[in-house]
């Protein structure tokens, strides 16, 4: 469960925004860790795609015995969230009573601390909160835009 500060620098600030990996050949969206290989068409060309942040719970569990980095937060809900763009992501659903989630609950992503690294590096990532707004009527066309950091780097 440990990432060194060097690895942190290599992978960049992890998941300050929700994103998926998009296969450039067949267009299928995969979870963020699928950087190397598309399971649908075997392509090796995948690129980051930022997501809108909205989705729906397709499955969930409640963790009572957490890993070390989550001690003190139990019991907490971890769900499989099908994002409006189609890709499924695992993430905690917070700020809700464990009895108040069910399959189909609409959620939206937000920023939370995931863990404190052993070198004092803080990892932020996406958790989800229940979204009371009505769900979108049609599937969201996944937009493809470079991250703000990439834009800023390009400016320089």
């Amino acid at each position: 469960m440990t990432v060194s500060a060097i690895e942190f620098s290599r992978i960049g600030p992890p998941k300050l925004r929700p994103y998926a990996m998009r296969c450039e050949d067949c267009g299928t969206l995969h979870a963020w860790w699928e950087k190397f290989h598309c399971y649908d068409c075997n392509s090796t060309k995948l690129s980051e795609l930022e997501l809108e942040g909205g989705g729906e719970l397709t499955n969930y569990t409640v963790v009572y015995y957490p890993p070390r980095d989550f001690l003190g937060q139990e019991p907490y809900v971890v769900g499989h969230i099908k994002m409006d763009e189609g890709v499924v992501m695992p993430a905690p659903v917070v700020d809700v009573a464990v009895d108040d989630v069910e399959i189909g609950t609409r959620v939206k992503s937000t920023l939370r601390r995931m863990k404190l690294g052993h070198e004092g590096d803080i990892y932020y990532s996406q958790k989800f909160i229940v979204d009371d707004a009505p769900s979108p009527e049609k599937p969201v066309a996944a937009k493809k835009k470079p991250s703000a950091r990439k834009k800023a780097r390009k400016k320089k």
């Binding site: 469960m1 440990t2 300050l16 930022e50 003190g72 917070v94 937000t110 920023l111 939370r112 601390r113």
Partner: protein, 326 residues
């Protein structure tokens, strides 16, 4: 003239009843606030700032500049504004502004200058998680929250004149970036009163508008007793819509922001004048505002109530924030 275009606020949901802290530590006297808003273990000033800022920006909002105000940043040597901008997906120039609990009003000055200078929209966010241990949590009423304001050339509420009063005094301070504030209870009320009065008087002199004209005053409020003292300096009822410390506690530099958000929520009509007021750590700032379009209320008053947590949970969360892993 720079205006508040949209605003947002975030109050963490957990609430620790202050009487639980009293009863655990055997404190005499009655609780001065009913409950304190306590951020959960996976929250901090950055995540709360993100929530408030996301609400202020809305689905299509954007800004060229992000100014983050906090006295409890996640890192002592990294800008919260730059990580915040990244998390919001903004390619914005980041600035951290701080130094005292009223720094949000400093940030308004700077933000307004950028807007007025043609620099584009400015997102100003104040977020704090005041942490005190043991019975001091019940004295300081330590709590956490965030408020965010998107400044633009036009909006719902114009930023008018502002004025300051400074004094060298040890009321509330910290050495460096140590985690808990130090305070002198016997000095606090007088110091707060002097700073507030000084700022209000200076603003009157600048604008020619008597303080009693403002029907809604949005002050920092670290403690209900200070709020009562302030009540005597402003017109009757001016604090009715903007008082919250008894329900959520002292939220540090976010305090004046929450008060302003409540004030904007309560606006009845165009033309209304609001007064934002901060004080503490020896500096008082008074900021005049005028409503140009009735803002769409975000309902901060409905968020003052939360979910109660036990003393055990509160102790674990404030003592052992994110236990260092293997």
């Amino acid at each position: 003239m720079a205006s508040i275009l949209r605003y947002g606020a975030y109050l963490p949901r957990p609430r620790i009843p202050v009487k639980e802290i009293h009863s655990f530590y055997g404190k005499p006297g009655r609780p001065r606030a009913r409950t304190l808003a306590t951020p959960a273990l996976d929250e901090d000033s950055l995540t709360m700032a993100y929530e408030a800022a996301a609400e202020a920006l809305g689905p299509k909002g954007s800004a060229t500049t992000v100014i983050a105000v906090t006295q409890s940043p996640p890192f002592g040597m990294r800008k919260m504004s730059s990580t915040l901008a990244e998390a919001l997906g903004l390619a914005a120039t980041p600035y951290d502004v701080g130094g005292h609990p009223g720094a949000l009003l400093d940030a308004f000055n700077l933000g307004a200058a950028i807007v007025d200078g043609g620099g584009g929209d400015v997102l100003v966010v104040a977020s704090d998680y005041v942490v005190s241990h043991d019975e001091r949590a019940a004295d300081m009423l330590s709590a956490g929250a965030a408020a965010a304001f998107l400044l633009s050339t036009e909006g719902c509420c114009e930023l008018g004149a502002s004025a300051r009063a400074s004094d060298e005094v040890y009321d509330v301070w910290r050495l460096g970036l140590e985690p808990e504030p130090r305070y002198r209870l016997e000095v606090l009320s007088a110091a707060y009163g002097a700073a507030a009065k000084g700022a209000l008087t200076a603003l009157e002199a600048t604008t020619g508008t008597p303080t009693s004209t403002y029907k809604a005053v949005c002050p920092s409020q670290p403690h209900p007793s200070v709020l009562r003292a302030l009540g005597r300096m402003v017109s009757k009822g001016a604090l009715d819509a903007t008082s919250f410390v008894g329900e959520i506690g002292n939220v540090g530099s976010a305090s004046v922001g929450i008060a302003l958000a409540l004030g904007l929520d309560s606006v009845a009509r165009k033309g209304q004048k609001l007064l934002a007021l901060s004080y503490g750590s020896g500096e008082g700032i008074a900021q005049a505002l005028e409503v140009t379009n009735k803002p769409r209320a975000i309902g901060v008053a409905d968020r003052l109530a939360g979910t109660e947590i036990s003393m055990g949970t509160f102790y674990r969360w404030t003592r052992g924030r994110q236990v260092e892993p293997h």
